[in-house]
C-alpha cells in the first residue's frame, strides 16, 4: 500500500505582475491574463538555488507530516530547471536534510516530473517505507523577458512543492496511476543553452488530448465516474487548458483546483504546490476520489488516482 500523507510548499516573496512582464515582451497585461489565466507569478532571488528552495518545501512537508528526515526511505526530486545537470539537486537536498545514505534520485522532467515521481513513490513505498517527493523550479532563469521569448516569459514562475508518500498511513490511498512517454514530439518542449523553448500551440494540442485520455483511462479501469471525483489536481500549465481538460472529461470545472492566477506555471513544482494549497483549504476529511494529472517535456504525461483511506 502507499498513502498520501502530507504536502508542503515554498514560494518566493517577490511577486511579478503582468504589468511588469508585459512591456518587456511586447504584450499587454490583459492579453497575458486572457491567454494564460495568470495575474502574477513569483520570482526567486539570485541567491536561491533549486536545492535550496526544494529543501524549504521538503522541510515544510516533513513538518506537516510530523516526521523527521531520518525516517525517510528515499527522496525523489523533479526539476526541469536545475542549476546543475549532474549531480542534480536530489543529493544536495538529502545532504541538507542531514541524510548521508538515504537514496535520493533526480527526475529531470519539466512539468510532469512530480507526477511521475508520485507514481514511482507509490510503487517504492511498500519496500522503502516513506518516500519524499519534491518538485522545485526556478523557471525565471530559463526564460527570456524579451519579445522573442514572449510565449514562455508570460507563463513561468518559481516555486517548490513536496509530498510524503507513506507505506502505512495517510489521508488518501494511492490506488492507481498511468504514465506515458512519446519522444517523437520531444522537440516541442525542451531546454537548450539554458533557456526553455516551447511550441505553445503544439503543446496545447498535445496536452488537451493526452491529459483527458489519461484521466479517462484511469477512471474507466477503476470504474469511477468523473462526476464522482472530489477534486482534480492538475499541473498548473495554463488556465484555459485546465478548463478544456475539465470539459473533455465531463467533470464540473469547479472540482479542478487552480492557483495559476497567483503563481503562474511553476513547471514540475506546480502540481505539488497546488496539492498543498488544496489540502490546506480542505474543510473536512476527503470523502471522494482524488485525481492528479500532468503533462510535460519528453513528452511525458499521465494521471494518478487516490481514494480516501
Amino acid at each position: 500500500m502507499a498513502y498520501l500523507r502530507a504536502f508542503g510548499s515554498w514560494l518566493p516573496s517577490r511577486r511579478v505582475s503582468n504589468r511588469e512582464v508585459a512591456p518587456l515582451v511586447d504584450a499587454t497585461p490583459e492579453w497575458i491574463l486572457e491567454v494564460t489565466g495568470i495575474e502574477e507569478r513569483r520570482y526567486a532571488t539570485d541567491a536561491d538555488t533549486i536545492a535550496g528552495i526544494g529543501l524549504l518545501a521538503a522541510q515544510n512537508c516533513l513538518e506537516k507530516a510530523g516526521i523527521t528526515a531520518a525516517e525517510l526511505g528515499m527522496i525523489l526530486v523533479a526539476s526541469g530547471s536545475s542549476d546543475r545537470f549532474c549531480p542534480g539537486p536530489a543529493s544536495q537536498i538529502a545532504a541538507s536534510l542531514g541524510l548521508a545514505s538515504t537514496p535520493a534520485l533526480d527526475i529531470p522532467v519539466a512539468s510532469a516530473g512530480s507526477l511521475m515521481a508520485l507514481a514511482l513513490a507509490a510503487q517504492l513505498a511498500p519496500k522503502l517505507g516513506r518516500v519524499l517527493v519534491v518538485g522545485a523550479e526556478i523557471m525565471s532563469r530559463r526564460v527570456s523577458l524579451t519579445p522573442e521569448g514572449k510565449n514562455t516569459a508570460i507563463l513561468f514562475g518559481d516555486g517548490a512543492g513536496a509530498a510524503l508518500v507513506d507505506a502505512e498511513k495517510g489521508f488518501a490511498r494511492i490506488a492507481d496511476s498511468c504514465l506515458f512517454t512519446d519522444g517523437a514530439a520531444a522537440e516541442i518542449l525542451f531546454v537548450r543553452d539554458g533557456h526553455f523553448h516551447m511550441d505553445g500551440s503544439a503543446v496545447i494540442l498535445q496536452a488537451s488530448r493526452k491529459m483527458p485520455r489519461a484521466i479517462n483511462e484511469l477512471l474507466t479501469r477503476n470504474r469511477i465516474a468523473a462526476t464522482d471525483v472530489e477534486a482534480f489536481l492538475l499541473h498548473q500549465a495554463n488556465l484555459n487548458l485546465i478548463t478544456r481538460v475539465a470539459a473533455a472529461v465531463k467533470a464540473p470545472r469547479e472540482r479542478f483546483f487552480t492557483n495559476i492566477d497567483r503563481y503562474g506555471n511553476t513547471s514540475s513544482a506546480s502540481l505539488l504546490i497546488a496539492a498543498d494549497e488544496w489540502r490546506q483549504g480542505l474543510a473536512s476529511a476527503l470523502t471522494g476520489p482524488l485525481v492528479f494529472s500532468a503533462f510535460g517535456a519528453g513528452l511525458n504525461w499521465g494521471a494518478l488516482l487516490a481514494v480516501p483511506s
Partner: protein, 77 residues
C-alpha cells in the same frame, strides 16, 4: 453531403458561428481556430468522418484550410 460541406459543418459547430470561409482561407489567420479550438475541430472530424487522427498528426499546418483538411481525410480513407 460533399466532404467540404461536412468539414464546414464541423467547423461551424466548433466555432458556434454560421461561417463559410474559402476553401484555401487560413482558419488560423482568420481567427476562426486557435490551438484549443483545433482540438475540438479534430475531435469533431474524427466523429463526422469515422477516422482516428493520431496525436502525431496534431499540427496546425495540416488543418489550416478546408482544402488541407479534405486532402488529409482523403489520404486517411
Amino acid at each position: 453531403m460533399e466532404p467540404q460541406a461536412r468539414i464546414l459543418k464541423v467547423l461551424q459547430k466548433v466555432t458556434g458561428k454560421e461561417i463559410s470561409p474559402g476553401a484555401d482561407e487560413s482558419l488560423f489567420v482568420s481567427g476562426l481556430l486557435d490551438s484549443f479550438a483545433l482540438t475540438d475541430f479534430v475531435t469533431g472530424l474524427e466523429e463526422e468522418f469515422g477516422v482516428a487522427i493520431p496525436d502525431s498528426d496534431l499540427s496546425a499546418r495540416k488543418f489550416d484550410t478546408i482544402s488541407k483538411v479534405e486532402a488529409y481525410l482523403a489520404a486517411k480513407a
